[in-house]
């Protein structure tokens, strides 16, 4: 890894470098075990299948269902990955070692968030083509903006989800609490992403999707900053 030379702001590259180290650690664990990623992908594919049969396919066109189905599935399969994010640090009290490491608390949050983001993006990279296949969605002209929406939404979901994952593992309800805390926060993200996707797939002009895209961008900006600031408060002092 070549550290970018930025003499004007010496702290930021250091923070990012530490964050990337932590992200790499999490990704290495995930890459060697592959349990969470595999189950999240299978979960997403199962979801796509079940949703198809939950509607009357002769009454509702698959293309009309596709955006909603896609985003509901991302939300829930994303939760599977987020659940593990701080869950892996529970074993052998690995969290204490992480806190003892000479890195900023914000770097821990950022590193966890980067790993979670790549996890969610990986699930998306498999399930969006699967959706196109199963729901007969023509992706030819729209795949690039669709990927952009998917990444913007993933940032929002991961920013909030990483923080709540850190909180939920320390509570008595653990697995149950993460969806309860996260889902209200996912509402604006999922709504905006699904609405933008629907307009994109329907070939509507971009101006129609812009108000939704603005919500998505604003959410990402506000909650990445707010959650990074809030994260140190969720650690034992």
């Amino acid at each position: 890894m070549a550290a970018p030379a930025m003499p004007t702001a010496p702290e930021l590259p250091e923070l990012l470098r530490a964050a990337w180290l932590i992200a790499r650690k999490d990704l290495a664990i995930e890459f060697r075990t592959r349990t969470a990623f595999f189950s999240a992908v299978v979960f997403a594919l199962l979801g796509l299948t079940i949703f198809y049969f939950a509607w009357d396919a002769t009454a509702v066109a698959a293309i009309d269902l596709a955006p909603g189905v896609l985003w509901v599935i991302f939300t829930f399969s994303g939760l599977l990955g987020l659940q593990r994010s701080f869950g892996v640090e529970q074993a052998d009290r690995a969290m204490d070692a992480l806190l003892a490491a000479p890195v900023d608390r914000e770097a821990i949050y950022l590193g966890k968030a980067i790993a979670n983001f790549l996890f969610v993006a990986g699930v998306q990279a498999i399930s969006i083509p699967a959706l196109a296949l199963f729901y007969n969605v023509p992706l030819a002209g729209v795949w690039l903006p669709l990927a952009g929406i998917a990444l913007l939404a993933a940032i929002g979901l991961v920013a909030v989800g990483t923080l709540f994952s850190a909180m939920a593992v320390n509570t008595r309800l653990a697995e149950l609490l993460l969806p309860m805390l996260s889902l209200p926060f996912f509402i604006p993200v999922v709504t905006a992403a699904a609405q933008t996707t629907a307009r994109l797939l329907a070939g509507r002009p971009a101006a129609e999707a812009w108000p939704w895209l603005r919500i998505l961008l604003g959410f990402d900006l506000v909650f990445v900053v707010a959650c990074a600031i809030a994260f140190p408060y969720t650690l034992d002092e």
């Binding site: 909180m167 320390n170 309800l173 889902l183 209200p184 926060f185 509402i187 604006p188 919500i215 408060y233």
Partner: protein, 241 residues
């Protein structure tokens, strides 16, 4: 060791009175508001008697907003000063706010059935209120899931602040959702000039509900103090054993 048992914000009187004066006054005020609403306020011309629920619905909604604003402010104060009193006010206010939101969500459909012809519609304001209910229900579940008081206060303060940040985003999305899918019904008749009798009843009812909010938060705060004292005493006696 006895001075360790004193809890910041504990009332000086150790024994709680049998009748809580504030709660009694609030109950009387709400009862008086009911009397005024039912017998001393003229029915609305087109909606008839159904409109009277408005005098409960709107004050409950406004007080719920006040309650959640108090949660956000006391959460910030807690993270800043680490004063357990701020955490207790936040807890009390969230509970009472959730209660008022429940009042809003039950009185709304009762009015909606005769006026709109449906118990529920995914209108922007209804949806927003429902999501508010979810956020603060989650807040109270989080509180219940953490036994350790200091950690509970920290975590719930974080959620209390993030919840307040979330409200504008939910607000924007549900309104955008509505404008793109226009509803055939206008949510509330826009009446900038409410007839004076009705306005007086509304203000009276709002004051009664606000008093109820204060009294409930106060009662709930005292309960939290008692609980903290009890927990302290238990851990104290366990330490002696």
């Amino acid at each position: 060791m006895t001075e360790r048992l004193s809890i910041a914000g504990a009332p000086s009187a150790t024994r709680a009175p049998i009748v809580d004066g504030w709660l009694a006054a609030a109950a009387l005020a709400v009862a008086a508001a009911y009397v005024r609403i039912i017998w001393f306020t003229p029915p609305e011309a087109t909606q008839g008697l159904a409109q009277k629920i408005y005098y409960l619905h709107l004050p409950a909604a406004l007080n719920a907003y006040i309650a959640f604003a108090v949660v956000a402010v006391t959460s910030i104060v807690y993270l800043w000063l680490r004063d357990p009193r701020a955490d207790r006010v936040a807890e009390a206010s969230a509970e009472v706010g959730l209660l008022f939101t429940t009042v809003v969500l039950t009185t709304g459909p009762i009015w909606g059935k005769p006026i709109w012809g449906t118990w529920w519609t995914w209108d922007a304001r209804l949806t927003l209120t429902l999501f508010l209910w979810f956020i603060y229900a989650g807040y109270l579940v989080l509180r219940g899931a953490i036994p350790e008081p200091e950690m509970r206060a920290r975590y719930s303060a974080v959620l209390g602040i993030l919840g307040a940040l979330l409200i504008p985003f939910i607000h924007m999305s549900v309104y955008l959702f509505r404008t793109l899918h226009p509803m055939p019904i206008v949510l509330k008749p826009d009446r900038p000039s409410l007839p004076p009798e009705m306005l007086q009843t509304l203000l009276f009812s709002f004051a009664a509900f606000f008093l109820a909010y204060l009294a409930l938060v106060r009662a709930r705060y005292r309960l939290a103090v008692e609980r903290a004292l009890l927990a302290e005493r238990e851990s104290h006696s366990e330490g002696e054993r």
